[in-house]
Amino acid sequence: MESPVTRLPTRRRTKSYGRSCFEASSRFAYTSGQLTILRIPTTREAPRARNIAERVDPEQVTLLIKNEWKLSYVTPLYRFRHTHLKKYSKHLSAFIAAEKQQGTAVEVGLETGYRVTFSTVLGIAETDEDAETVFIQIQSKPMFAATGDALKVVWSGWLTCVNGSPEYLHSLLPDFVSLPLFCSSGPENITVVVKSWFEKMFDCRFGSLGLDSTSLQWLCALWTGCHPDNNIRYLRLLWTLPTQPPLDVSYTVNPQDAWELWNSVRQEDSVDGTVGIDEVKHFMAGLESHFFRHFKIYLSSGTLRKVSTALGSAQQDGKVKILCSDYLATVLTLLTECAILKMPI
């Protein structure tokens, strides 16, 4: 693999065996800048219920789940130090105040100051190459509040990298830290200010991250597969069909039926604990053909917009909600992969 910044020494494997002897467990794809090639896995580990409290502070976990997060991708951060978080907190605070003075961060109403807290969330990163997750919280400080009043959280966001592609992470120059997935929750004007602060401080770029239909299908199948351990309660899919006017179809499946369909699709010889893309495609085809049998409508002629279960929901426009912390790692791995794929280099 060649990237414009480093050239890894390549050792050519001798082609002494044919390619058809084994199933490829990944395929290659270019990032959107067409300069880096990544491996996209075609099989994934089936999500196992893991008590996340063993690895991550439960208080921090509650910050991450149950909120609806808007996703963006971030290019690698230049000279970001996990040891300087206090400095960054003060810096961002001052930046927001300055932007407010200029009139860009519009907060009509009471004069409020902002208190910014940067913190590290240990335990989310899965491999040694993943950088530790950084959580940012912005609380409003009303001018006339008594000391001891609980501050209201107005915005929160976090940067993370979970199981990032090793080839991509190795190709980065030494001073760069990659935390490709950015999740934000709160007023859009504050998000814009936070992003522009990051761009100025660390010479990075943000971009909106949407979830394509394959990623949504993966989540649909992986969550359904969790049903025996964690009741998903419903599987709801939202499709939009390109008719005039556009038709929205909300397709809710009984969890037990969904699980039985998923079970029947799982191949006999599949390695326990891995899920293949073919099984996901068959699962979706099963759901779609059932719908067709009843309504004579091909769902595949439309676009899948949203997948939701009791474990979480994901939308095509990049909004994600994780309701069950047990499967955090699986979902974040998928989202990190989507973010890295969008890198403009």
């Binding site: 494997r13 794809a29 996209i40 394959t214 990623s215 595949s300 002629s301 095509q316």
Partner: protein, 171 residues
């Protein structure tokens, strides 16, 4: 001179725009453009149907059904057509919401059939005009109006291949 092309598209949107431009663009050659949603074509008009010089399958990458419909239609194409008289036209390849594996499957299909794969932008007027101009050039070759080329030689030069980089070994 008379040429005839068959456009096959499940969504029936792009083919109409394309047909209008193609028919109006060319003045010295009489171009007949036939539209269909899928193959096989209905049996009723078989006698009056002219000889088709080029079959173009239009795939909209935003919809899975588009690709599935083309896969089903391909079964009804006479094998002789694949020697230079079939071409794939893909729209929506740059759309952010399209997953990369859908384009990859189309490319695999086109490579396995040794056919050219063209990309088109169907939302703007320039995009439609460009696509029409390219198809017209291919059509003139397959109809035998270009003295130095035949449909088979052109498709051999322009056929879709999966990049050897993506298939090769990496370490």
């Amino acid at each position: 001179c008379l040429t005839s092309t068959q456009l096959v598209e499940n969504e029936e949107q792009f083919q109409k725009k394309l047909a209008d431009v193609i028919v109006n663009a060319e003045k010295d050659v009489s171009v007949g453009v036939r539209l269909a949603r899928r193959l096989p074509l209905p049996v009723e008009n078989e006698e009056t149907r002219p000889c088709i010089d080029l079959v173009v399958f239009i795939i909209n990458l935003s919809f899975e059904r588009s690709f599935q419909s083309v896969e089903l239609s391909l079964k009804y194409v006479d094998p002789g057509f694949f020697l230079g008289k079939v071409c794939f036209l893909v729209t929506g390849a740059r759309c952010w919401s399209v997953s990369s594996d859908r384009l990859q499957s189309v490319r695999k299909l086109a490579t396995s059939l040794r056919c050219p794969l063209l990309y088109a932008e169907d939302q703007t007027v320039e995009g439609v005009n460009t696509a029409a101009a390219r198809l017209l050039r291919v059509l003139k070759v397959t109809a035998g109006l270009t003295p130095w080329a035949t449909g088979l030689s052109l498709s051999t030069l322009t056929r879709c291949t999966l990049s050897s980089d993506l298939e090769g070994d990496f370490d």
